[in-house]
Amino acid sequence: MHNQETAETRPGEEPRDGGDLVTARGLTKHFDDFVAVDGIDFTISRGEAFGFLGPNGAGKTSTMRMIASVSPVTSGDLKVLGMDPAAQGPEIRARLGVVPQDDTLDTELTVNENLFIYGRYFGIGGAVLKQRIDELLDFVQLSERRDSKVEPLSGGMKRRLTIARALINEPDVLILDEPTTGLDPQARHVLWDRLYRLKQRGVTLIITTHYMDEAEQLCDRLVVMDQAKIVAEGSPSALIAKYSTREVVELRFAVGQQEHIGNRLDDLAQRIEELPDRILLYTNRGDDAVGAIHERGMNPESIVVRRSTLEDVFLRLTGRRLID
């Protein structure tokens, strides 16, 4: 998805059956005294790729677990596929595919056995199941590892197997909790490619991530969560337009030089962010700012002009404090 505009301007495309797949109103989750999710509202439509973005502990996983109907809602209203998770958990789960953060594969068994056992939990019969396993192994590029044990597989392969497993029941919705955390760049791109294909086939994707590039690659629409609440909502490009500028100038100064610079730049950008190792100027005209910096005789060690990304939005919204 190189053209970011496609996400928000799909002309006249309505959700195919007009149905909202997930609706949450005032959705809340407490663990004893701890408020994990604090009265959030969102709606996910059929066929879209919807993201939950946020730092660790923002409440993303708790929200996903409630949608996946494995964690009871504390209060508020949640409908998944038009059903109530508290009353119809098994019926909802029959139509979901879940890719958890930990792969939860049985490492003593083979690739094929993992898929077969999981398929049987959905009550899928032997012949159908065998055929589906063939197709899915092909789709996730693991056909040759069919009879290998899971244990020696690479992280990327295990994650692909987990995705194949989640698709065994031909789900309406695929839920992915941080799908590429811990994978190397190549494995991430292979995974994104597969997810993008699924999206094109009309599978609704719900994704949590704290990788901005992943959200920009995959999500049509996303919400940013922070401290159990939703703090922003929209397409990646709309969020960038709303919360950031078109361009960002990154200045890096020699150690010890940066402190004396800050207020001499104030008029060059709409907003200035001082990081420990560099200064960010948020402006719509990056080159003009660079020209002015040179005119003022400042000599940063490096200057980079780049487009704003979701990361700028994210950092603005959730702050730069360190969250462990």
Binding site: P90, E91, T104, L105, E113, Y118, R120, F122, G123, R165
Partner: protein, 257 residues
Amino acid sequence: MMQQLRVVESNARVYKRTWRGSAVTAFLNPILFLLAMGLGLGSIIDSNPAVDGLGGVRYVSFIASGLLAATAMQTGGVEGSWPVLAGIKWTKTYHAALATPIRVTDLVTGNLLWLAVRVTLSAAAFAIVSAALGVLEPLDVLAALPAAILTGMAFAAPVTAYTPVAKDETRLSGVFRFVILPMFLFSGTFFPIEQLPGLLQPVAYVTPLWHGVELCRWSALGFDTTLNPLVHFGYLALWTSIGWWFAQRNLRKRLQP
């Protein structure tokens, strides 16, 4: 019922790949115990005219009937602990199962049904060994299988219930060191509990294993039971049911907070 059976099926598929190790143990343990304790120690005991209270049977037959119950207990305890902890914490396959239409109650009930199969297999292995060594009559030991299986379940279910709330693996090992092993030694398997100091005898009465041993000796050797056999059966069934109920509650709390 379908959902529970799917859990049984998945366990059986895993077992198909991993049965070898447990099969060796299932046959080797009874051979070692019956040879060493039964025939070795037993030859001294049987030749001592002062020994009374074995009901007129050879010592090896006396302990074989007790060991049948103890073997079932051991299998129930082991299978109710480590594989359950693996499903919760190590491979996390329980999390995977619960993402499907399977519910916690299906998972627990299906697992316990599967444990009944596992207990039956290890009790059957014990029965085969004791019949082959001529320690117990084949039909006698067969008659004792139901009591042994119920004994195994009276451990499998409570241990399954304890595993999700055990703080760490050390606590779980503690169950074997401080509960299962003392029961194995002092609940009538190797000697009648009347030999225990008076204070300890009531403790033995409370242990499920003693009831299982009573039932196995009754059904295999025709010994009189201390209480009505139905009371012994009922006591074991009670442990099984309470364990089954708490296993669902504790696993739900642990996996679906």
